[in-house]
């Protein structure tokens, strides 16, 4: 077994176990910490796929940013309510059946296709290629993204404004 395959299987186990813990953990705070592990595992998958830039972005924005925001939201709401918020699931059996059926359909469809060849040979530095594509072919979506993030920022500030 090659080193890549070994790393993939270890990360796959970490990712699936932590994802299950995110949706099944009774304690909301623990669920957020498991999500941080799942997002870090995804960054590892990106590293195996030789997307170093995306792994760095994943760690900075997801594992850093989102987890911090989530922890803030939990702390704020728990302080307002003055007690620990329960975190229960309902209709677990029906949900598990529906999701298992969906997973079966997707996985069966994936494996019905003929096996793909090995990874295509990369031409040059991937990070450089991403930067080039963002600044040339995808410059309009990039600018729209900036607009979207500005709108999101203004919306979040508007929602979080103090009562007057």
């Amino acid at each position: 077994m090659s080193l890549d395959a070994l790393a993939f299987w270890v990360l796959a186990v970490v990712l699936v176990v932590s994802a299950l813990a995110v949706v099944l953990s009774k304690n909301l705070f623990h669920a957020v910490l498991w999500l941080a592990l799942a997002l870090t595992g995804t960054a590892g998958i990106f590293l195996i796929l030789e997307a170093e830039f995306l792994a760095a972005v994943q760690l900075l924005l997801y594992a850093g940013g989102i987890v911090t925001i989530m922890v803030f939201a939990i702390v704020v709401t728990e302080r307002l309510v003055g007690e620990s918020i329960s975190q229960t699931n309902r209709r677990i059996v029906a949900g598990a059946l529906a999701v298992a059926a969906l997973a079966g359909i997707i996985v069966a469809t994936i494996w019905r296709q003929p096996a793909t060849a090995a990874a295509a040979a990369q031409t040059g530095d991937i990070t450089r290629n991403i930067g080039h594509a963002v600044m040339t072919r995808y410059v309009l979506p990039f600018e729209l993204l900036a607009l979207l993030m500005l709108a999101g920022l203004m919306g979040a500030i508007y929602f979080a404004r103090p009562d007057d």
């Binding site: 990712l15 995110v22 669920a31 704020v76 975190q87 949900g95 994936i110 594509a133 979207l148 979040a156």
Partner: protein, 99 residues
């Protein structure tokens, strides 16, 4: 490692996230499930991009990561706002739009 392995892993993570979205009662828990689902989509995009030797999938991953961060910030702002109005974060208590 074949492309199928990555796609299967992403499908499993996506389905686990969806399980969280449809069974969690807490609104923040539902948001955590949505994060997992979007994360699985990113794995798919990067894997396809890598195996086709085309950088487009990775550019889209950068875009989806940024959109997800915006979504999480706005979603949590809405949760906190709802909490201040209704004093609950349980999704089945939020029936303001129910006729």
């Amino acid at each position: 490692m074949g492309l199928e392995a990555y796609l299967t892993l992403a499908a499993i993570v996506f389905c686990i996230g969806m399980f969280g979205v449809i069974t969690r009662r807490n609104t923040i828990g539902i948001l955590l499930g949505i994060e997992l689902m979007l994360n699985a989509v990113n794995i798919n995009l990067v894997a396809f991009s890598r195996y086709h030797g085309d950088v487009t999938g990775m550019v889209f991953t950068v875009f989806t990561i940024c959109i997800t961060v915006t979504e999480a910030a706005l979603g949590l702002a809405i949760v906190i706002l709802l909490f201040r109005i209704r004093r609950t974060v349980m999704a089945d208590h939020l029936d303001l739009l129910k006729g």
